[in-house]
Amino acid sequence: MGRLAGAAAAAFVVACNTSRLLDVQTPNSVPATVYTNPANATLMVNSAIGDFECAFGGFVVAEGIATDELQDATITAANWQLDRRDDGFTSGSYGTNGCTTTEGLYTPLSTARWEADQSVNSLNGWTDAQVPNRQTLLAQANLYAGFSYASLGMAMCQAAFDLGPLIDQKGMFALAEKRFTDAVTAARAAGQTSVLNAAYVGRARVRLFQHNAAGAIADAQLVPSGFVFNAAMDATSSRRFNHVFNAISTGGLATVEPAARALTTENGEVDPRSGTTRLTTKPADGTSLEFIPTKYNAATLTAGEALPQPIARYEEAQLILAEAQGGAAAVGVINAMRAAVSLKPYTGPTDAASITTLIVGERQRVLFVEGFRAFDVERFNQPLTPAAGTPYRLGGVYGHTVCLPLPDIERANNPNIDQAQLISGVQGQFPIP
């Protein structure tokens, strides 16, 4: 018996393949080493799209809270910094939250950007023989990479990519333009009209942001009437929900800012494009009134969570045209859009300042809670609402932040960040991009 036990032990020690004994299943996830190959090209691009759509939903909500569109309605003090526009805050949830958590912005957009860029890089290294529909996939990957860079540029004062150095907003828009241009090329080759039009809108947007009016006009004019390119939300998963509906109606985590619940034109008409609806539910803080943009409201949770969120659309292209052309041309564009919703036309002066005011107001209402307002406030150097110094309803006072500073998570873990070049995002403390 003793010999038997000893022999058994020895056999166990000597004969068993120890690496096999340590092998375990990982059926919940895919090792990155087996993911990147031509057979997975479609999966890679779809994954990038999925990440972007989720990140985009979070971006719209976070940017809405950061500006005068939405109000945080949680009892989570960490969230209030964004709503309060705290000066110099870099530890907020905008930096670390995921795309399904309120205020998640920098991390999910960075993930989407990385996935899209990785898809682009991989597809550029593969051949048409290896990857059927390679041009279509390239167009899609470049398009979503472009919107990722553009969204980051609109929200963040500075960002970094692939552990690289700081890139400012102009730099991000330039990167976005490059991706949109590549998307245009690939979409043309593949005959992907929708992707092509979305790329035109995206490129027009970032060209406008880079003060390339001619380029913006050229692209915006190519966008057909009625075009809309959506993040196609559905009710299958929190990642796929319409984030605005989910945050307000389902979660009670946000509500429309009191000042934005009935936006009007200069004529005093309530603009239906920025209409809001009072809900009967109470938000999480138990005290705010619950308002939701009417365009994101629905009768049932399932229907609301499946409402699409526009990423790029004809109306934006028209507003880009108006802004880039200015003067009477701008008024013409805007009045045509107003007529479509039975609003009185603009009849005021057409000097540059008046047109800028018109454009800013029109963008605020037409693109209401679509992710544009915060950057418009920044680039047009608009007064902050409520004004900085106003007491915040849950303590503290409103700050001056107009773009989000690079969050601590990147500062602390990216060795190539030059700390001396960091900016705070406080209005007036850095040049308007």
């Binding site: 340590l22 996830s29 003090a77 920098y106 692939d162 796929r240």
Partner: protein, 997 residues
């Protein structure tokens, strides 16, 4: 002749019984404890020079030895924990009496150390804390394993989370020695590794019924736990369940009944204030008082009922122990209760002197109703943050619908929470088989395998509501919901060890041990949920209208380890041991190899060394010196070394992948090397015992969960890196003594104290990294030169109160250099001052003073424990002040120090006022026991009858102003310092009756 014969016959008849008895060799007697005179069971009485002859005393202390010859015999009476007694007795004597005195230091005690079988304490170079559970349970009523450890094992800190029934604690052995890994010690039951985790508030530690436990031993520090390998750096807790003993079949029945309550609830729950801006009237609310006045008391007294029975015995080749327990406990709200049923069967078969087969099988089922409270709302939550403006008194006229319906409750009135049901059902099987085979007197083998399987079913269910108040508050969710998560956890242990021992010389005994352990851990989880029942009366997820996405997961982790140990025992008083352990684990990075842990120790029983014995003062009866050096480790989490992507919902109903873990192929286990030295001494005829240990541990490659720069694309994950070094050192002192020992009365005392300090020497790998803020609600940070998880925040030292604005302005902060500076940068609310040290998050000193006073058949047991040197964030006060602005400092700012007001009015940045020193001393246990005389016990047909009245948590001394310095929001290290909306440790009173047959 006949007369002579008759006379001889008569003489023979008179003499013969004694002669026959003498020739038959019978000795009878009784063993008692010196002083208390109580009978002592389990004493081995051996006949000197007659191997195999002897007896074991029974429950009444009686013994009988037969088959003796000669006129007298020398008997040795011996029991671990008592001084042996040798006496010469007349063969035939029937009234032999042995009085054994308790030993304060027992060097021959057997302890479990990871080798085959057990080792005597005298052989070890390390300290092993041991809790004799059977003794404790006979003296007082202790509800859980964690409560058994609290205060009774120096160096083991039990940190409760909540006073909810079923809630578990966090256990720390010798403080915190890691940045980001679990600090929970490994848990073994009868030699196999078992689940030591926690699901929600409920800790798996407490699945084991104290009534079925004989002993708990704690191996502290790397030197003691080396043979347990790469996961044992936080210590090892061995639970040894009761076994049967040869002799009569013994039956025990225990019944307990009692109650628990929230002591001084109205005084400890806050009173909140509000000035009605419309009227200028001041309103206040204390939700305990207001609900009592409303006839709907917020809290109740929770009932306690417990019934346990066991049978044990054995004869010939077998021994057995079987037990069962039914335990029902109610919390202080309707939302909290627990029903647990458990059973255990331990069998031992010894078919020959070479073979020993033991089985240990335990099974339990429990149902625990819990409430999320601090992390999700509950009755305590709504009362803690009650708002005067939500009372009817604050409503305008006419009263709008819903106004005042919460009666001031922060969120819902209690009846709404009572409609939200959440519970955890558990079934757990823990079974092992141990085969010991000693083919020769110099060789032994042990093969042990077993499994610990836990099935947890975690459910939340809100039925379709029809009550108008509940419907109002639940809003869109009035029509109900249900979610269910089923988790299965399986731990398998395969353990072989073999040992040979032989005499190198007449004085030197060599013991060589080798072993191999293979542990597998396999966890699965399956979740489903649904909302919106179409009508009342439906309850399943299938009956909901909107189904959540079901999820499932599987994780697995395996450990393989080998060890070898060589011990030399010189004259059974000097022990030199060397060992090495080699481990690998599924979670190690692909570039990390096998981890090797060394061990060396020396133990010297100096008092048995003739050359020393003569030089020791006469009052020192026993003295052992010990020193040990060794290592063990802590593995990283499952799959943390891998870079992975996870399936998620994607466009067009497709499943796509999203970046998941960043991974680290270089990841190695934490490697902790430690040195400890100490001594045990028995003084004054072994009536006073001292056990002292000094230890010093160094955690190399301490693993830090580090954020990942989002620009990598993996910002949503964290990366485990071998970042730093943490040094720990401390002392442990246990004093034990019989202060008074008389026949009718006595006083036994035990005093334990342990202190530890830890210091981060290196952090995050980069030389420039000296501080990592953890971003937790209690402002915890890892900072070089301080302990892990210390509290750091801005310290406001002054401010100015502006009566016009009712604001505290111009706050001035500590500049960290002994001076001051404006807290905020000019014109902003950005803090420019540095964060300064505000205390440790876990106790640095803990201990207990335990006294047992005996008077005749009564025993009074009093345990006072204390924990010092730590602080807590009173987040309840912070919420009431900073978030809901209805604490007294918010409402009456002019009355208080402006520096407090400044903190209260700057919710986003300042919180130093809410960090409070949390040291406390608690009257933890008081019990009065009565051992009934035999005549009374026999009325119940029993051998013995005991009655105990026990009370817990009756009094506390602390400067902490929150609900309870022992409260925390659960979880691991990051949440310990957070006191937020949890039930305090409840006071309780329990009467128990114990019958033995």
């Amino acid at each position: 002749m006949i007369a002579k014969l008759s006379a001889v016959s008569l003489a023979l008849l008179l003499v013969l019984p004694n002669a026959v008895r003498a020739q038959n060799g019978v000795v009878e007697g009784r063993v008692i404890v010196e002083g208390s005179q109580r009978p002592l069971a389990g004493v081995q009485i051996a006949v000197a020079g007659a191997a195999g002859k002897g007896a074991v005393s029974d429950a009444s202390g009686r013994f009988r030895i037969t088959g003796l010859s000669g006129a007298t015999v020398i008997l040795n009476a011996r029991l671990l924990g008592y001084r042996p007694v040798t006496d010469t007795v007349r063969v035939g004597a029937t009234n032999v009496r042995f009085a054994l005195s308790e030993r304060a230091v027992e060097l021959n005690q057997l302890v479990v150390t990871g080798t085959a079988g057990t080792q005597e304490k005298r052989e070890l170079g390390t300290s092993v804390a041991s809790v004799n559970v059977a003794d404790v349970m006979a003296t007082t009523s202790v509800p859980s394993v964690e409560s058994l450890l609290n205060g009774r094992a120096p160096g083991v800190t039990v940190i409760p989370t909540s006073g909810q029934v079923g809630a578990g604690s966090q256990i720390r052995v010798r403080g915190i020695g890691t940045f980001s890994l679990s600090s929970t010690p490994l848990l073994y039951v009868d030699g196999i590794r078992v689940d030591n985790g926690q699901t929600g508030l409920i800790a798996r530690f407490n699945d084991f019924d104290p009534e079925e436990i004989e002993n708990i031993e704690v191996l502290k520090g790397p030197a003691a736990a080396t043979l347990y390998g790469t996961e044992a750096a936080r210590g090892v807790i061995n639970i040894i369940t009761k076994k049967g003993a040869a002799g009569e079949t013994k039956y025990t029945f225990t019944a307990k009944g009692g109650t628990s309550w929230f002591q001084n609830a109205a005084g400890r729950m806050p009173t909140n204030y509000w000035i009605n801006p419309a009227t200028g009237n001041l309103l206040s609310i204390n939700y305990v008082k207001s609900e009592a006045a409303n006839g709907t008391p917020l809290f109740r007294n929770g009932g306690i009922a417990n019934y346990a029975a066991s049978v044990s015995g054995g004869a010939g080749v077998y021994r057995y122990f079987a037990s069962g327990e039914w335990n029902n406990a109610e919390g202080i709200t309707l939302q909290n209760a627990r029903l647990q049923k458990s059973a255990r069967t331990n069998l031992s078969i010894v078919p020959s002197s070479k073979l020993d087969l033991e089985t240990s099988v335990g099974y339990l089922t429990s149902h625990t109703n819990v409430t999320p409270e601090g992390s999700g709302g509950g009755i305590f939550f709504t009362g803690e943050y009650a708002k005067p403006q939500l009372t009817l008194a604050a409503c305008p006229t006419p009263v709008p619908r819903g106004c005042g319906w919460s009666r001031g409750g922060f969120t819902f009135p209690p009846e709404v929470y009572n409609a939200l049901l959440s519970w955890q059902d558990v079934q757990r099987f823990t079974g092992s088989v141990s085969l010991k085979y000693d083919p020769f007197s110099w060789m032994s083998h042990r093969l042990l395998f077993g499994t610990d399987y836990t099935l947890e079913d975690i459910q939340a269910y809100t039925p379709y509501q029809t009550d108008s108040t509940i419907v109002f508050f639940l809003g869109a969710g009035f029509d109900g919901s249900r979610s269910e998560t089923t988790q299965q956890s399986t731990f398998n242990t395969y353990d072989y060890s073999g040992a040979v021992h032989f005499n190198v010389s007449p004085r030197i005994l060599s013991k060589s041990t080798i072993g191999v352990q293979y542990y597998t851990n396999y966890n699965t989880a399956l979740s489903a949920s649904g909302t919106h029942f179409p009508t009342p009366g439906l309850s399943t997820i299938s009956a909901t209208g909107t189904k959540g996405t079901p999820t499932s997961s599987l994780t697995a982790n395996n450990t393989l380890g080998f060890y070898g140990q060589q011990e030399l025992a010189i004259s059974d008083r000097l022990f030199v041991t060397g060992a090495v352990r080699v481990d690998n684990n599924s979670a190690f990075g692909s570039k990390a190899g096998w981890a090797t842990y060394p061990k060396a120790s020396l133990s010297w029983v100096a008092s048995e060394e003739p050359s020393v014995r003569g030089r020791l003062p006469s009052f020192i009866d026993a003295l052992r010196l010990r020193v040990a050096y060794g290592g063990s480790g802590q593995q990283p989490g499952v799959n943390t070394a891998l870079r992975t992507l996870s399936p998620v919902a994607g466009p067009n109903s497709a499943t796509v992948l999203s970046n998941n873990t960043f991974g680290n192929p270089d990841l190695k286990p934490e490697r902790v090397l430690g040195t400890e030295l100490g001594f045990e001494a028995g003084l004054f005829k072994d009536r006073i015992g001292i056990d002292f240990t000094f230890y010093s541990d160094v955690s190399h490659d301490a693993i830090l969960s580090k954020g990942v720069a989002p620009s990598t694309g993996f910002g949503a994950s964290t990366q485990f890196i071998n970042a730093g070094q943490i040094n720990k050192h401390g002392i442990e002192l246990a004093l034990k003594g019989q202060v008074v020992s008389r026949r009718d009365y006595g006083w036994d005392m035990q005093f334990n104290i342990a202190a530890n300090t830890s210091k981060i020497v290196k952090l995050s790998g980069a030389a420039a990294d000296t501080n990592i803020d953890l971003g937790t609600a209690p402002p915890l940070a890892h900072r070089v030169g301080y302990s892990p998880f210390d509290l750091f925040t801005f310290k406001v030292i002054s401010a100015t109160y502006d009566p016009t604005t009712k604001k505290a302005v111009n706050p001035v902060c500590d500049d960290g250099k002994g001076g001051s500076m404006p807290c905020f940068a000019p014109g902003t609310t950005s803090v420019q001052a540095p964060k300064v040290f505000f205390g440790h998050s876990i106790p640095t000193t803990e201990g207990a003073w335990i006294n047992t006073f005996r008077y005749q058949r009564f025993r009074l047991y009093v345990m006072v424990d204390f924990q010092n040197g730590f602080s807590k964030l009173d987040n309840n006060l912070r919420i009431n002040c900073q978030l809901t602005s209805d604490c007294i400092y918010s409402v009456f700012p002019a009355k208080y120090d402006p520096k407090i007001v400044a903190v209260v009015q700057n919710s986003g940045t300042l919180r130093d006022f809410f960090i409070k020193p949390a040291s406390f001393t608690k009257l933890r246990e008081v019990s009065l026991s009565y051992d009934a005389p035999g005549v009374l016990a026999r009325r119940f047909g029993a051998h013995s009858l005991g009655v105990t009245a026990s009370a817990r948590n009756l009094a506390m001394i602390t400067k902490y102003t929150g609900i309870d310095p022992e409260n925390s929001l659960g979880g691991q290290n990051g949440s310990i310092a957070l006191d937020q909306s949890e039930y305090p440790q409840l006071a309780s009173f329990v009467v128990s009756i114990r019958l033995s047959y």
